[in-house]
């Protein structure tokens, strides 16, 4: 493959183009904004992890000896809120997406750079208000804010937290809006839709969800806050209201929200799998359309959170059926990734380890979702640790792993340095082991009946305690595994090996520009003439029927 020649230029890149706090806080460069997000998101992840640690410590023993139940309620609520709204939803889109999307389509920046910066400020504002609420006394309603507890009976800072989340939602909406317009209008010459990397496709689908779903949760939170202020009864059965209406409105967003969390992760994984097996993704169009299908179908299944909430049985059946269909595009992706690996030239670098881990853990998480979609099974395991394990497999085993994999993969592009590969692989393994040890026992616990959001369990059930101890041990290992990259990534920013423009020797457009890139991304506007993931030189491609088959280079 012919290397694109990077002209020598005097070392000016987006990191050293300007110095000073103002140049960062008032930047319009999508790359700098991505780093602003990276810092903020890491901070919130840390806070959410502290809450997780408290939960796991409490559950080591059957008695409620570490904290009172009211404190425990606040702990798991705040763990959920911080992790869902301030880590999982923005993590990949706002850091990796912001950084890479313009580069991957050959643009100089996103369509609306100032709105991009605004979305970071809105995120920070929402975060600060929420942290204020947490410090002032916390909120104990569960991250799901179910009524009438949250509107009438809870004595905690529901409105303040609600305001923080409401504001944060606008950050999400503006990011999604920016991505959609950028992808539609700013692709470089020759960059057709089907030549875009799958990372961009999945972020496009994610942006659709952000646009269509977030406003609904915004109005829902607003209604809860108004109800709490004015005590009228839109959700209060005694006053003629309907608490299930809240659940409908809340989950109309919150279910698609989990696809906001996982679709970008799938986009990262597509990149990791294709690039580290040096092979074009098997079934590119299928994977691209699956992203869209997940976005659409994801909006049709929210009622599976209401199976035991006195929703009509007939509606339950419809939702159960639709929930099964939404698994199909996800499965299509898993099969395509696997097929990509077949007879490929795989290199087991750190990002690939995370990518492979994703495929396995996401599959487990997804399959357990099928159990939950089955009405009868759900009656048994709803609101137990089975559900907790299911979504942690997808969110931690899936999204977090993909986030780490992407961070490592693109780290040379972002920072101009390589991370230490040995430590990278080691911590990937530690994370994998720790994660599974934490959450696999929880499937068993849930099946045996351990309810979620409880901080005590019967002393007689020794097997439960054994499983909880295993889970907490796993959590500690996971915690260690996550601290290590934090240390060496920060270390590498100063002491890491300096990376060349294309350290992995890959054909992607983002690798055809220096590492770190100049502020305007490309020295000259690229013109795209080949497909994504093009590994074989064109003279070695054989046209069979209407399919092109890439042959390995003859040498």
């Amino acid at each position: 493959m012919e290397e694109f020649v990077i002209p020598k230029q005097p070392g000016s890149n987006y990191l050293n183009a300007e110095y000073g706090l103002k140049s960062w806080l008032l930047t319009k460069d999508h790359k700098r904004i991505a780093l602003l997000y990276l810092g903020a998101i890491t901070f919130f992840f840390f806070i959410g992890s502290l809450y997780a640690m408290m939960i796991r410590l409490e559950l080591l023993t059957p008695q409620g000896d570490l904290m009172q139940s009211s404190t425990y309620n606040k702990t798991f609520t705040q763990h959920g809120i911080v992790m869902v709204f301030f880590f999982l939803i923005p993590a990949i889109p706002a850091t990796l997406g912001n950084f890479l999307i313009p580069m991957m389509i050959g643009a100089k920046d996103l369509a609306f750079p100032r709105i991009n910066l605004l979305s970071w400020y809105i995120y920070m504002a929402g975060g600060i208000i929420t942290i204020y609420a947490l410090l002032a006394g916390g909120v104990d309603t569960g991250w799901t804010f179910y009524v009438p507890y949250s509107t009438t009976f809870s004595n905690s800072y529901v409105i303040a937290t609600g305001v923080g989340i409401f504001i944060n939602g606008f950050s999400s909406i503006l990011t999604g809006l920016n991505f959609i317009v950028t992808i539609h209008t700013m692709r470089a010459p020759g960059m057709t839709w089907f030549r875009m990397p799958l990372f961009v496709w999945s972020h496009y689908a994610t942006s659709l969800i952000m646009i269509l779903g977030t406003p609904v949760v915004a109005i829902t939170i607003l209604l809860v806050a108004l109800e709490r202020l004015a005590h009228i009864g839109i959700f209060d059965p005694a006053a003629g209201g309907d608490p299930v209406l809240f659940q409908h409105l809340f989950w109309f967003y919150s279910h698609p929200a989990v696809y906001i969390m996982v679709l970008p992760a799938m986009g990262v994984v597509s990149e990791l799998i294709a690039n580290f097996s040096r092979k074009n993704i098997f079934g590119y169009k299928f994977v691209a359309f699956s992203s869209l299908a997940i976005a659409v179908l994801g909006f049709l299944v929210w009622g599976h959170h209401l199976f035991v909430a006195s929703q009509s049985v007939y509606a339950g059946m419809i939702f159960s059926f639709l929930s099964f269909t939404v698994a199909i595009p996800s499965a299509v992706k898993v099969f395509n990734w696997t097929a990509t690996l077949h007879k490929a030239s795989i290199s087991y670098d750190t990002p690939m380890l995370y990518g492979l881990g994703f495929i396995g853990l996401f599959t487990i998480g997804g399959l357990t979702g099928m159990f939950l979609a089955t009405l009868a099974v759900d009656v048994h395991v709803s609101d137990t640790y089975f559900v907790v394990a299911h979504f942690h497999y997808i969110m931690v085993g899936g999204t977090l792993l993909a986030y780490l994999g992407g961070l490592h993969y693109w780290w040379p592009k972002i920072s101009g340095r390589m991370y230490p590969e040995g430590w990278g692989r080691f911590s990937a393994l530690v994370v994998f082991v720790g994660f599974n040890l934490t959450f696999a026992p929880q499937f068993l616990l849930g099946y045996m009946g351990m309810p979620r959001r409880y901080h005590t369990y019967p002393v007689e059930l020794v097997s439960w305690q054994v499983l909880h101890v295993l889970s907490t041990a796993g959590a500690s290992i996971l915690g260690v595994g996550l601290m290590i990259p934090l240390i060496y990534l920060v270390w590498s920013m100063r002491y890491g090996r300096i990376a060349e423009a294309n350290p992995w020797h890959l054909p992607g457009l983002e690798w055809q520009t220096p590492s770190p890139p100049p502020t305007e991304n490309f020295l000259t506007t690229p013109i795209v003439t080949h497909e994504a993931y093009e590994f074989a030189p064109p003279e070695h491609k054989e046209v069979v029927g209407k399919f092109e088959r890439q042959q390995p280079a003859e040498s």
Binding site: H184, L212, H248, L300
Partner: protein, 86 residues
Amino acid sequence: MIFLALMLGTGLTVLAAFYDFPGPLNAVVALTIACLKATLVVLYFMHVRYSGRLIWLVIIAAIFWLAIMFAITFSDYWTRNWLPIS
């Protein structure tokens, strides 16, 4: 342009005058007229009639999603009484 403004104006008056329909037809008529007026605003005042396919797609997607939210939520409320649950 002016013609359209007058059309909308009359649509409005007609709407206000039509409050003598019996039963549920009242709501149907009112909403239909509202939809018609909205359509005219969208097509002509917002220039959608002369816009590209992408804008059409965006509008249709929005209406479709709104419809999903309404339809499936109602599938719960309208079928709750079908099965006598103790």
